[in-house]
């Protein structure tokens, strides 16, 4: 199976899960951030437990992925940017209750309001590349 097809199918399951967990509704995320409904903790906890098993056990049992060349590692080292970026991300998340995955999956639910958030995310990603991108190597 090609990695494009694998990525597509895993994306389908991801998008279905986000929708089932109502993470695609900004109101639900905002209710969590205001401590009115702690459901988001169950979503994150459930996802981390399953992913943790795959990430930790997979490379110990398998020499390589079942249909791939090697197991990728998250590489980015820690720097000031890790924290400053996370704080900026959190401010945006707290303002609108949207994050990248739900913004994309929400489109499939027919929520065209998500186009505003997606436009914003693309602009933000471009700004990062334009003004903070060139020093990537030095800063880390």
């Amino acid at each position: 199976m090609s990695r494009l097809l694998i990525a597509l199918l895993c994306g389908v399951v991801f998008g279905f899960g986000l929708s089932l967990a109502t993470m695609t509704q900004p109101e639900v995320v905002l209710a969590f951030l205001r401590f009115q409904d702690l459901g988001l903790l169950l979503v994150l906890g459930g996802a981390v437990i399953v992913a943790l098993l795959a990430y930790q056990i997979g490379p110990r049992l398998l020499a390589r992925p079942l249909a791939g060349a090697f197991f990728e590692q998250r590489q980015a080292p820690f720097s000031r940017r890790t924290v400053i970026g996370a704080a900026i991300f959190g401010a945006g998340w707290g303002l609108c209750g949207v994050c990248p995955g739900p913004a994309i999956a929400g489109l499939g639910l027919g929520n065209l309001d998500m186009l505003w958030a997606l436009a914003g995310i693309f602009i933000g990603a471009w700004l990062q590349a334009r003004f903070f991108g060139s020093s990537d190597a030095q800063a880390r």
């Binding site: 694998i6 895993c10 986000l18 990248p100 958030a117 914003g120």
Partner: protein, 156 residues
């Protein structure tokens, strides 16, 4: 107790979370790929922008599968709408707030090199402490901002 913490019930949250973890786990076990989502935005911009930071090998090499992954997310949302849900969801968050919030999300996630999926799920599953720091930071900031926004009536 359960009703107080989870007024809408806990089960759909847990089931959705397990599905999300399965998707990220399967992508790793099958293809060896780390399925964060914020890199999708930079990788997609590499098709249209010549900025050096957007022409890095790690973006060019991954932009195709990231695009397929994002297309899958849209299909997954549509599949849910067609089976258990319904089409035509909307939100009371006004467009300008989605745009401003989105901008901060894109800028911050790319600076930090991860979002709720990249740091929150993949990073924690990799047992990487920088991701734990990022998760604690963005959760705290988001809680403060959301509470302030509610207090000052910015949000519905």
């Amino acid at each position: 107790m359960i009703e107080t913490l989870f007024p809408n019930g806990p089960w759909h949250y847990l089931a959705g979370g397990l599905l999300i973890g399965s998707a990220i786990g399967a992508l790793y076990l099958l293809a060896g790929l780390v399925g964060g989502l914020s890199t999708f935005f930079s990788a997609s911009l590499s098709w249209v922008s010549r900025l050096p930071a957007l022409q890095q090998a790690k973006l060019l090499d991954s932009r195709s599968w990231r695009l397929a992954y994002a297309a899958g997310l849209i299909l997954g949302g549509a599949l849910f709408a067609a089976t258990l849900g319904h089409f035509g969801a909307s939100t009371r968050v006004p467009p300008w707030l989605m745009l401003v919030g989105g901008l901060l999300i894109g800028l911050g996630a790319r600076l930090s090199d991860g979002c709720t999926a990249g740091h929150g799920i993949c990073g924690l599953a990799s047992l990487r402490w920088p991701s734990l720091v990022a998760v604690i930071t963005f959760l705290s900031t988001a809680i403060v901002v959301a509470q302030l926004a509610a207090h000052f009536g910015v949000l519905p």
